[in-house]
Symmetry: D3
Subunit: 317 residues, 6 copies
C-alpha cells in the first residue's frame, strides 16, 4: 500500500568545497538529486510510503543514484534499468558574494530522457493514492513529454491525486515552449505548485500571489493552487485563500532542493490536515532543508513538528 | 515474497585512517556492520529479496544503521524502534605488521541486547524461505539467547531453511559457555557454518575440515555443514564432501565482513545451484569483499559471475 | 608546587563536519573534553601549574584522553588506570538554524563512574593551593558522589581554596535530585559558579543575577559567588558586587567549553588580581574559547592580555 | 620556436579514493588527461618547448583543462574556445584484485569532437619541428577524423616529423573500423607507436614485437616503428632493431598515462640521441609515471637522467 | 608582444583549516602568492599578456611556485633558477573574532633576496608596455633594493609605464627606513598606489585621501596617484580627482591578495578606458578576490564585467 | 627523579600525502620530530621518566613542537623560549619506486642553532641518570658544537651515563668535518650508536659490524658500542659481542625515526636487563616504529613486550 509515487530524472551533482571553485578544486563532492526523488525522499522521511520511478543505466553510477534514494526509505523497485544511456549530471559552484553561484548542466542523452512510457509499471503506480510530477520532465525530451501525458492517462480513472510542480528551467526551454507544453498538463492535475515569478514569465500573470492562485484555480480547474513568492511567503488557494506568514531564521548550508522540500511538506501536511497544515509543513520543511548538505532534507517528522511548535533553537544537554 | 531474512545486531564501527592509530587519529571513519545484516546486504546485492530485523534506538545513530543497510536493498521495515538503549559500537585499528590490529568492543546495553522476542513480527519472518542466524546473538544477553530459541520455535513448522554461522567471539563468552548455549541450537538448524579453529576450541574436534564436517553432519543432523579452514580452503558436506580449491589473489582493503560474505555467497550459490555452486560463490564473495572498504561487499551478481568465470583482472578501456 | 588541581570525567566527543549531521557524515572528528580537564587546560595555558585527576581504562582511548590533556601542559601523572570500564563518549551535532544542535550522551559505566575515592592520591591534591570541582561529578554515580564528599573532607584542613561550578545537566538528573546532592556541597566551598537559569531551576531563586549572588553568598557562606546570565553578563559577589559589562564580538567556531573557559578565566584572574580581574579574564577567555575548535582554549596568557587591552582585531603583517 | 606540438582531446577524469568505489565514495578526485596533452606535458617537463591544441568550451571546466596543462609549461595559446559543446569526461575506478578496474567513458558530444579543421592555426603548427597525433582522435567523430587528415596535409611539405601512437580503444570503435581509418594515416607518418596486442587485433599481425616492427616499417614506410610488448619490453626498428631490456621495480600509484609517458620519453630521447636513447628514456618515463597520481609525469629531466644512471633508490638526507 | 611585466618575490603560504590554528592543525594548506605575481596573475586572467620575473631555487618547491603562477597564463620563462637559496615562506592563521589573525614570516635568505640585477633579461622586460613593482622588494635585501633602481634605469628610455604599489610592511623595516628607500623611487614612476594609512605612517601626510593624492602627484610628479582608504573607498588623481564609491557586499573566504587585485584591476581598467574605468575595475577585482581561496582572483574578464554591470547576484539555473 | 634527558633540535616536517609530491600536493601534513626528542618520546612511552631540552621561538610553531612532544609524557619544562630565531623545518617526499624519496632541509638560523650553553638548566640535567646526545647537534652551528662539549663537562663528575648516536648527515657537513668534531666527543661517552656505513665514511673503518664494534670500544673507551648494519642486523659489544638476529616482517607506513626508536629501545632494554635485552628491545622498537605515521613510535611497553614474545600478528576479536 503506497502513499505517494513520483516519476522523474535524478542527476549526479558535482560540487567543489564551499570555499573553492569548479576550476580550482581538486575534489568534487558527489551528491544526487532530482525534483521528484527529492519529494519522494522528503515524504518518506516524514513517514509516508513513497516510491520513485526512473530510468537509469545499469552501472555503478546508476546504482549510486538508486541506493542513495533508497537509503531514505523510498521504494525504488520499479526503476527501469537500461543497458545504454548515461546518467545526467551537473556542476554546481555555490555563490560567495559578490561572486554568483554557477550551474552547468550536462544531462542530454541521459537514460531517463530515452524512456518509453510502456516500460513503466502503471499497475504499481495505481496502487498509490498520490502521484507527483514536475515541469522538468516534459522539458527533457519528446519521450519524456509523452511520458507525462501517458501518466495522466493511466491514472485518469483511478482514485489518485495528481500534483504538479511547474519548476520552470530557463536552461532547458523557452517560456513559449514551456507554456505550450505545460498548459494542457495543468488542466489535468488536482494540485499545482508554481513560483509567482514563473507564473509571470510563462503566462504573463502579473498580479500578486493571491490573485494568481485564484486565477489559476479557475483557469485550470485545480483543487489547490500554491503560489510561492520567495521572501514574501506563499498563498494556497483551495476555494479559500491560505497565507504563509511564518518565517524561520535560516543559516544556509545548501540551497538546493528547497522548493522540493516545500512541495513535499505541503503534500505531507495536506494529507495530514488539509491546506493550512500543508502550508505550515511546507514552510518548516523548506527552512529545515537549507540546513542540510545535499538535496535531501535529513529531518524526521519529529524534527519538523518540533520546529513548527518551538519558540527557539539551541543545544539541549 | 521474501527470500532470506536475518536477525541480529549491527554496530557502529569507528576506524582511523589506515596509516594511523586510535590514539593518534583526529578523525574516525564511521562504518556500520553486523554479521547478520552483512549477509542480508550481500544477498540483496546478488539479487535476492532479503530483510534484516533488529532493535535500534530511535535516534540519528539508529537511523544511520538502518539507512546504510536499506541503501543496498535490504528490507528494514521490521526493525523495532526503541525509546531507550544505545547503539553498540566498536573501535577497530587495522593491523600494520608487526603491529597487530586492535578491536575494542563497547556494545553492552545496546537496544538490541534488550530485545523481547514478542516484539518481532514472526508472521513476516515466515514469509521468507530462509532464515539466517549467528552465534553472536546468543552471546549478547539472556534476552538475545531467548530470541534465538524463540525464532527456531516460530519457524519450526514452516517451510523455511535455517542456517547458522557459529561465529565464536572470545571477547563475549568462554568456550564452555558458548558450547552450552550453541549445542542445542546446532541440533535444530539445516545448515551450519563454522571455522575449523572454532570447532576445535568449542567442541575439541581436532580433525581436519572434512572429518569435522562429516562428524557435525551426523552429530547435529544438519543437511549441510560448511567448515572453513582459512588459507586451506573449505569443505561442505551434504552427504557428499565438496572441496573449495579455487584461490584468488587478493589485495586487502578491509578484512572485516569476509566470513559473512562467504556465508552469503554460499547461501546464494546454494539457492542457485546447490552445494558446489555454493562453495564457488562463497569463495568469490569472500575474495571480492576484501577489496571493499567497510563490512559490505559492494559487488553485483554480474561482478561475482565475472570473477568466477574470469581468467585474470585488469582495466578494460 | 602545584597551583590548581581538578578531578572529573573527560569524554570522547564525536562530531560530524559542521555542515553535516550525525546520520549523514562519513567521518566524525574525535575531540576530548570534560568540564574539569577543560579548566585545567585553560589555566595551564595561562601559565599556572595544574593537574587533572581522573580514572581511565588502560587502552588507546584512555591514553588518547590523557595525552590530549597533557599536551597543553597539565600534569596527568595521578590518573588512575583501570583494567575495566569504558571511556564515556558523546555525539554532538552542531546547530544550524533552524535545525537545533543535538547531543547524545553515552557515558554510563565509564571507568570514572566506578572510581573508588581511596584510589586518589590525596597527598598530591594537598600540594595544590586550589581545587576545582563541578556539579557533573556527583551526577554520574554513587561512587562519584562519594568522591566529591571525600575530596572536601581530604582538603578541609589544608590551605586550599575550593571552587565549584554547578553545571546542571538535565540529562543526568532531575532538579530535585541535583538540589539534594549539591546543597551540602555548596555549603563547603569558597567559590561558586552558577548560571542564573540553573539557580532558578534548582533552587527557585527567581531574582536577577546580583540578588542571587548576594543570596547565595549568605546562604552557603561562600567567599565569592559568580552568577552568569548569558548575554546579560555576569555578577561576582565577594562582599561587594562586581559586574561584567565588556562584550566581545564573537564568531563561533565551537561553543563547547565556553563555561569552563569562563570559570578558568575567573580563577586565573582572581589569583592574579582579585575579583575584578577575575571577571575581566573570564569574559576574555569565554570569548576566545568560542573561536577554537574543540573544548580547549588554545590561547596563551599573552593572547588573553592582548585581547583585554586591545581596541580591535585584525591581521598584523 | 617550438619543438613538439600535439592535437587532441583532454577529459576530466573522476576517480574515487583508491580504497573506494564509484558507487560508494562521497568525493571524486578531479584529474585531467588526454593522450596528446599527456605527451606535451611530459616533453615540456623534460625541457622541450611544446604546445597542445584542442577545442574546449569557454567555461570553468574548459579553463580547468587548459590551466592544468599550462601549469607544466605547455603552450595552450592555440586552444579553440567554443561557445557550445561539453567537456568529455570519464569515471575510473582503480583495480583492487580480485576486483577489476572500471572505466566509464562519457565523452560523446564534446567540444573537441565538433572541431572544424579550419579553426586550427596551422601556421603555428608549422613553427614546430615535430607533430604528435594518436589513434584516439579519428575514433571520436567524423570531424575529428577529418582533422587528422587535414593535419597531415598541412604539414606535408614542412620540415616536420610526424609521430603517431595507435592507441586502439575498443570502447570507441571496432577493429575493422579502426583498421580502415588508421591504415591510410600510418602510411603518412614517420614514427609509429603500437602495442603488440593492438597490432594483432587490428592487423592480424601475429608475430613477435621485432617481426611486427620490421613488417610495419616496410609496409607503412615509417622511419621508426616502436612495438611495445608490456612486461616483455619493446622493440624499436629504424632499419636496425633496438631492444628495450631494462626493467624498473615499480610501485604503482596510478597506471594511467603510462603509454603516453613512454611515447614522450621515446620522442625526447630520440631528439636527444637517436633510437637507443629513445628506448632508454621511454622505459624510464613509463616507470616514473606510474609513481605519480594523475596522468602527468611530474618528474624533471634531471629526475629521469638520475633514474637511468642510478643503481638503486632510497632517501638522501 | 607583452603587456605587463612584474618582478618580485613569491612565497609559500601555510594556512591551517579556517576553523583551526597553526598550533593545532594536522595539515596546512600550501598556497603561493606574492604582490607582484598576484598582479600578473590577475591581469593574465583578465586577458592581458603578462610575465613575472623572479629568482627561485631549482627544486620541487621552486617549480611549485612557477607552475602555480603559469597555470593562470603568466609567462614565467624569465625566472632565474638558482642552485642555492631557499623559498621564502610564511604561516597565516585566519582571524576568527575576537581572535586576531596571525602572520609569521620566514623569508630571510630566500633565493630572490640574493638576486643579482644582471641576471635579469632586461631586453625581455623592455618588450612590455608596462612594468609593475612594489615596495616590498626594496625591503628584502640590499640586492633587492639595487634591483629596483636597476630596473628603473633599464626602462628609463623605453616607452614603458611604471607603476608602483607602496605596500609598506612593518615587519620588514621601519617607517624611516622605508621612507628613505622609497622616496627616490616614487619620484621616478608614473603611477603610485598607496593606502592612506601608509602615506601617514611613512610621510606624515595627515590629510584625507584626495588631498594626499593631489599632494603626491605634485611632490613626486606621478601621472596617476591612487590612495586607498579601506571602507571609505579610494581616490585616483590624474590631474582630476576620481572617487571610488561603489561598494560590493562581500563574504570573505580569504582576505589575502585583495590589495594586489585592486592594483591589477586599476591597471587593467586604466589600459582599457582610463582612470575612471580603472577605479571601477579595481573595486570589482578587490571584491571578487575576497571570494576566492588563495591569493589569486580566479575570475575572468567576463566575470568582472558581469559584476560591474549586475544589479544583484544569485544562481542561474 | 628523572631517568633520561636528551638535548637537541626538533623540526617541523612537511609531508605530502603518500601518493603525491611536494610540487603537486595541495596540503602538507605537519609532523614534528628530531633525533633527541624522538628518543625521549619513545622512552617515555615505554615507561621511563624523560625530559627533552631545546630552544624554541615563543610562537605557535614553537608551542606546537613542545606540545606534540609533551603529549607523549616527556618533561619539556626546561625548554628555552627565545624571542627570536625560527623553527627549523624540512620537506619530505616519501619514496615511491622507482621515484626516490626527497628531503629538503631548511633549518639554518633556527632558535636552537643560536643556543647559549649557559641558558641550559644543568642542575636539572644532573638529576637524571642518563643523558643522550647525537651527532646532529654539533653539525648545526658553532654554538651547538659548544653545547655538546659543555654538556659533557657539566655531567663529567655526575653518576650519569652518556650515550651518543653518531647520526651522520651528509647535507650538514663533510665526513672530514664530522670526524674532526665527533672524535673528541666519542672519547667521552659510555655508549655509542653508529651505522656501519657511517663508520666507514667517517673513519674508514672497513670491517664488518663486529670488528668495528670491537675496534671502537677499544679506540674510544666506550662501555658499549652498537653498530647497526641495516638488513644484516646489529652488533653490540660490551666486552662480549651480542648479535641481533631477530627480524620482523614490516609494512612501512613511515620510515622516519626508525634509528631513534632503535636507540631508545636499546637504552630502555639496557636499563631493564643489560645488553642482550637492549638489542631485543631495539629491534622491536625499530620494527614497530615503521608502522606509525610520524617520527614517534606510538606503542606502549606492553605492545613492545607482546611483539617480542609473540609468534605472529593478527586481529583479536
Amino acid at each position: 500500500m503506497l502513499d505517494v509515487v513520483t516519476i522523474g530524472e535524478t542527476m549526479l551533482r558535482f560540487t567543489p568545497a564551499s570555499d573553492q571553485t569548479l576550476e580550482q578544486a581538486e575534489y568534487y563532492r558527489v551528491d544526487t538529486g532530482g525534483a521528484e526523488s527529492n519529494v519522494a525522499i522528503a515524504l518518506a522521511r516524514l513517514g509516508w510510503k513513497t516510491a520513485w520511478i526512473s530510468r537509469l543505466p545499469d552501472s555503478p553510477l546508476g546504482r549510486r543514484l538508486a541506493g542513495r534514494t533508497r537509503a531514505h526509505g523510498v521504494d525504488v523497485s520499479r526503476i527501469i534499468w537500461a543497458s545504454s544511456g548515461r546518467v545526467g549530471l551537473w556542476y554546481f559552484e555555490p555563490p560567495v558574494p559578490p561572486r554568483p553561484g554557477q550551474a552547468y548542466y550536462d544531462r542530454a542523452g541521459s537514460a531517463f530522457s530515452l524512456i518509453d512510457p510502456d516500460e513503466v509499471d502503471w499497475d504499481f503506480v495505481r496502487t498509490a493514492r498520490w502521484l507527483h510530477l514536475t515541469g522538468i520532465t516534459p522539458a527533457l525530451s519528446p519521450q519524456c513529454r509523452a511520458l507525462v501525458h501517458h501518466a495522466l492517462e493511466e491514472v485518469a480513472n483511478a482514485p489518485i491525486t495528481v500534483s504538479f510542480d511547474v519548476n520552470y528551467r530557463s536552461r532547458l526551454w523557452t517560456p513559449a515552449e514551456a507554456r505550450a507544453a505545460l498548459e494542457p498538463i495543468l488542466h489535468r492535475v488536482a494540485m499545482i505548485f508554481c513560483p509567482l515569478r514563473d507564473a509571470c514569465i510563462l503566462f504573463d500573470d502579473a498580479g500578486d500571489a493571491e490573485s494568481v492562485a485564484r486565477t489559476w484555480a479557475r483557469r485550470f480547474g485545480a483543487r489547490v493552487v500554491v503560489i510561492t513568492a520567495g521572501e514574501a511567503g506563499a498563498v494556497a488557494f483551495d476555494g479559500t485563500a491560505h497565507f504563509l506568514t511564518r518565517r524561520y531564521p535560516v543559516q544556509v548550508v545548501d540551497p538546493l532542493g528547497t522548493g522540493d522540500a516545500f512541495a513535499a511538506g505541503f503534500i505531507g501536511g495536506y494529507l495530514e490536515g488539509g491546506t493550512g497544515t500543508g502550508l505550515a509543513w511546507a514552510a518548516g520543511m523548506a527552512a529545515l532543508k537549507q540546513s542540510y548538505l545535499g538535496d535531501a532534507p535529513w529531518c524526521t517528522r519529529e524534527d519538523l513538528l518540533h520546529l513548527i511548535s518551538a519558540e527557539s533553537t539551541g543545544i539541549q544537554r
